[in-house]
């Protein structure tokens, strides 16, 4: 037993031995931050009362939970304190000295562990107190500073404990400083590296893989207890959980990690000093894991360099084997401290090489059916579906109570009627497979991208992106027509309150009308719009053109502060466009009551200028370009051209180099022709706001109309399409 006085004596004696770390900690902590604060205060301007909080926060920023300076100091400090406290385990004579003392290993551990914490904590607290003192005596103190400093202290201390304890664990694993550095790299890096490499394979070989923003971050978050640096740096960022919860979670993690480290420390044989790895059982664990990673990584690099364009994965297999062999040679040379042992454990080398090759091939050929993955219906809690191409004009916003934020359907949407959704999901999986087969054969097809989020009952979230040749109206209709879909797909219409709705404008080509509505009328109007939008069928959405467009303008007011604590107006205006379809009868009636008729006849003034632009040939993707040589083939295109003498339009065959962007011809027509042509026209914007289905519009003809803007000496141009079978021969006369 070690008496209490002996324990404190040991603490004191150990601190005496670690004087240099104490001095280093004092310099790093106590000097820079207070000096920074003093300099900031001395160079600051006078501030108004409203800005002082922000200035105070800025002063405390170096001590905040996400301060880069503090993160760097914490990680470096953890490394130094772990090595200065437990590095004796690398030296046989030091181990003999300390382990022969009449002190239990746990006492020795506690003494060194506690001192390592004190070396960090005491200067930190002194720094915080000095900083607070400076802020207070200069009259910049605000209560928020305490919160920033305390939260920072809690986060950095817990982060320090996690990193510091992990470094100690690494020290106990090994018996040599260089190997310690390598093993630390393994411990801290293995989780993110595995995820990164796996992510790379997914990206390369799985057609339905989709990078959903922070997918990697999410995975790391779920594995944060295997990745202490992530645990420290990111646990507090962007998580909508309470501080107390995170704090308790981190405390529990640090406690468990410390107990594990103590047990490993106690179990560590004293003769481990000087060896590469103190625990023989760890050698194959480390070696095999690194060899597999190296095999996968080098295999993929070879695939990228050589196999990418071809189907044969020979180079990838070669790379995987090469990675395993090189890694094996390197690690064995380190483990045995003898380069002649680089091929030791040949059987294991062979097995690992086979496993690495099997892994890359399994990924390459999607053996486990990643692309065919579809959770069982019963296991699905909810689904989100985002069809790219459906309402491409829209940016989704969601009102969070005070501000409008961009939102993403794949994150926000929760379709819980699985029975209604599931047939569509099945069709996506099958259609995706069909699409990729078509592509492999080189067959041309249209494509629609569909992003899906599967939320499973076990809490797991799976993202997929399907490419399908068509939308499958009958299967998607139950999804589209549900309120759960529409409330997210049109989240701005449904979530934003009328009190920040600044204006409503109804538009159809030249016919634009700002609606002067009272607050009550706005509320009534939005209720009608929401109701009719909810009732709209997919059939109409995909097959019918809208008749008008509503421009809703929201203004979100906010005052923010710049880095100098100066306030500025960060209010933003959001424009939400919503097409009005023929089924929106009440909406149209409401607008009509206030003088807006989408199909109102245009009153010609004689100042308009109308043109037909053609032909507009779309360049084919897969023709005309082979390597660095442009095709010299030419094509003949039928065009209407103007004769030079009497401005008459005549038909002619024009030869163009194949795949060129053709120019266009302009024809002025008289007012009679204007009216006849205008009757054939559809406002082009309506296609833009419409669904994804093809229409019978003429791809090569486009009509533009320049209309003089009232009161200004300028023209506004509107574009129109005409049907493919439209007879425009009257223009030839």
């Amino acid at each position: 037993m070690t008496s209490r006085s002996s324990f404190f004596k040991l603490l004191k004696e150990d601190l005496r031995q670690r004087l240099w770390t104490i001095i280093l900690a004092a310099i790093v902590f106590v000097l820079p931050v207070p000096i920074y604060i003093a300099m900031e205060i001395s160079s600051s301007r006078g501030f108004g009362t409203g800005m002082l909080d922000h200035f105070a926060i800025r002063l405390a920023e170096p001590m905040s939970y996400n301060s880069a300076w503090m993160i760097m100091v914490t990680i470096c400090g953890a490394f130094i304190c772990a090595v200065s406290g437990f590095g004796y385990l690398f030296s046989k004579k030091k181990v003999d000295f300390f382990h022969s003392l009449p002190v239990k290993r746990e006492t020795l551990f506690a003494v060194r562990y506690i001192n390592g914490v004190l070396i960090y904590l005491v200067p930190y607290v002194v720094m915080a107190l000095v900083s607070i003192l400076i802020i207070t005596v200069t009259g910049n103190m605000r209560a928020v500073v305490f919160f920033v400093v305390l939260k920072g202290l809690a986060v950095h201390l817990l982060g320090y404990l996690a990193i510091y304890t992990t470094f100690i664990l690494c020290v106990t694993f090994v018996g040599n400083f260089v190997v310690f550095c390598a093993v630390s790299g393994w411990v801290f890096g293995i989780t993110p590296i595995v995820l990164l490499i796996y992510n790379w394979f997914e990206e390369q070989f799985f057609n339905t893989y989709t990078y959903m923003g922070d997918a990697l971050n999410e995975r790391l978050h779920s594995l944060r207890f295997l990745c202490p640096e992530y645990f420290y740096i990111y646990s507090w960022n962007g998580r909508e959980v309470g501080v107390a919860f995170v704090l308790l979670q981190e405390l529990a993690f640090v406690a468990v990690l410390t107990v594990i480290t103590l047990l490993v420390y106690k179990a560590r044989p004293s003769d481990g000093a000087g060896k590469a790895i103190a625990f023989p059982i760890l050698k194959p664990v480390i070696r095999i894991s690194v060899e597999l990673l190296a095999g996968a990584l080098i295999g993929m690099l070879f695939h990228e360099a050589a196999d990418r364009s071809y189907g044969v994965p020979g180079w990838m297999i070669f790379g995987a084997i090469l990675g395993v062999v090189i890694c094996h040679m390197l690690i064995q040379s380190i483990f045995y401290f003898d380069v002649r042992k680089c091929f030791a454990d040949k059987t294991s080398l062979g097995v690992v090489a086979v496993v690495a090759v099997a892994f890359v091939l399994v990924m390459r050929y999607d053996t486990f059916g990643y692309d065919k993955y579809l959770p069982k219906e019963k296991k699905l809690e909810s689904v989100a579906i985002d069809i790219t191409g459906l309402d491409t004009y829209r940016n989704n916003y969601k009102y969070d109570g005070s501000y409008m934020n961009y939102t993403d359907e794949v994150y926000e949407m929760e379709l819980t009627d699985i029975d209604a959704v599931y047939p569509y999901l099945e069709s996506l999986v099958a259609d995706n497979e069909y699409y990729w087969k078509l592509r492999e054969r080189g067959a041309a097809t249209t494509v629609t991208r569909v992003e899906v989020t599967y939320r499973l009952e076990n809490g797991k979230t799976v993202y997929r992106e399907y490419r399908v040749p068509e939308i499958r109206e009958n299967l998607f209709a139950p999804v589209f027509e549900s309120m759960e879909y529409k409330e997210v797909h049109y989240s701005d219409v449904y979530s934003v309150p009328e009190n920040i709705l600044e204006s409503i404008t109804a538009v159809h080509a030249m016919n634009t009308q700002l609606m002067n509505l009272s607050t009550g009328e706005r509320t009534e109007f939005m209720a009608i719009v929401r109701r009719e939008l909810a009732a709209q069928s997919l059939k109409e959405k995909l097959n019918t053109l809208p008749v008008a467009v509503l421009n809703l303008q929201f203004v979100s007011y906010r005052v923010q502060y710049d880095s100098d604590g100066m306030p500025y107006d960060n209010s933003r205006v959001y424009k939400v466009e919503l097409p009005v379809y023929p089924s929106f009868t009440e909406t149209l009636a409401f607008l009509a009551e206030r003088g807006f008729y989408p199909d109102e006849e245009y009153e010609w003034t004689g100042k308009e200028l109308m043109r037909i632009e053609f032909p507009e040939v779309v360049q084919k993707e897969d023709a005309g370009y082979m390597g660095d040589v442009w095709s010299t083939e030419s094509v003949e295109v039928t065009e209407y051209v103007l004769t030079g003498d009497n401005n008459k339009l005549v038909e002619a065959q024009i030869e163009y180099p194949k795949d060129w962007d053709y120019g266009y011809n302009v024809i002025p027509v008289d007012e009679e022709d204007y009216k006849r042509l205008y009757e054939l026209c559809t406002w082009e914007e309506l296609y833009y706001y419409g669904g994804v289905s093809d229409y019978d519009r003429h791809e090569n003809y486009r009509v533009s109309l320049d209309v003089p803007r009232e009161g200004y000496n300028v023209y506004e141009t509107y574009y129109f399409t005409i049907p493919e079978d439209a007879d425009i021969s009257f223009l030839l006369d």
Partner: protein, 300 residues
Amino acid sequence: MIKAENVVKRFDGNLAVDRVSVEIKEGIVFGMVGTNGAGKSTLLRMIAGVLKADEGKITVDDAPVYENPAAKKEVFYISDDAYYLNNGTSVDMADYYGAVYEKFNRKRYLELLDQLGLPLSRKISTFSKGMKKQVSILLGVCAGTKYLLCDETFDGLDPVMRQAVKSIFAKEITERGLTPVLASHNLRELEDICDHVGLLHKGGVLLSKDLEEMRTGIHKLQCVFADEEQEARVLMGLEVVNREERGRLKTLTVRGTQEEIAARVAAAEPVFFEMLPLTLEEIFISETEVAGYDFKKLIL
């Protein structure tokens, strides 16, 4: 008493200590000899509680020593390559040991440092090898433990210092029953200081005997006999362990007390005879050869 029973220790599959059983009684100077790699240091490190035996049991005063501070309080271990605190002085070392060995006698330590002329405030890292060993021995002696384990500690000590250390040991043994355990590969180093010697070879104990007992129980006899009949008559009653001849002069290593042997030889009235003392080395040669080993291959 320190007791090792069937102790086994392996390093990476290599047998370092192979079923060693040895008892070290209190109040004696125990010498542990053996070639390099015989397992002396490993055995000492196990006795000091640094290493855990793979098999067998090591007790100090009947208490297991590994991870047992109560038992380890009675043991002080001086490694063959001792560690001194970074930038530490003789006094710093005393402070450190004073924190863990409750009976550490700081006053005596300072007196002995003074007597041996060792500086108090100079960094130990600047000391000579011999000076460092002296500091280690003084720390061990003053720690107040019952057992002092010294691994090759006497290497590098000059004869004067050896005598000084011997006298310090003698005083400690007399005053408080200190039991020094001295491991060395050099028999001659231990000869004048040990009471009991254990011989380790290839991880096992070849023999462990009281030196005085060995010395009194075996003797060298040089004699010249009148004739073969006389010689046969004399030798028939003696336990001859070793025999060499140089002309008519016969050198015999004989077991038995000096008096018994002298009486028996004198009774036969040989032409010449004398009894000579055996060196520790000669005793070991005899003992190990009896055990079937060629001692000269075992030890210097």
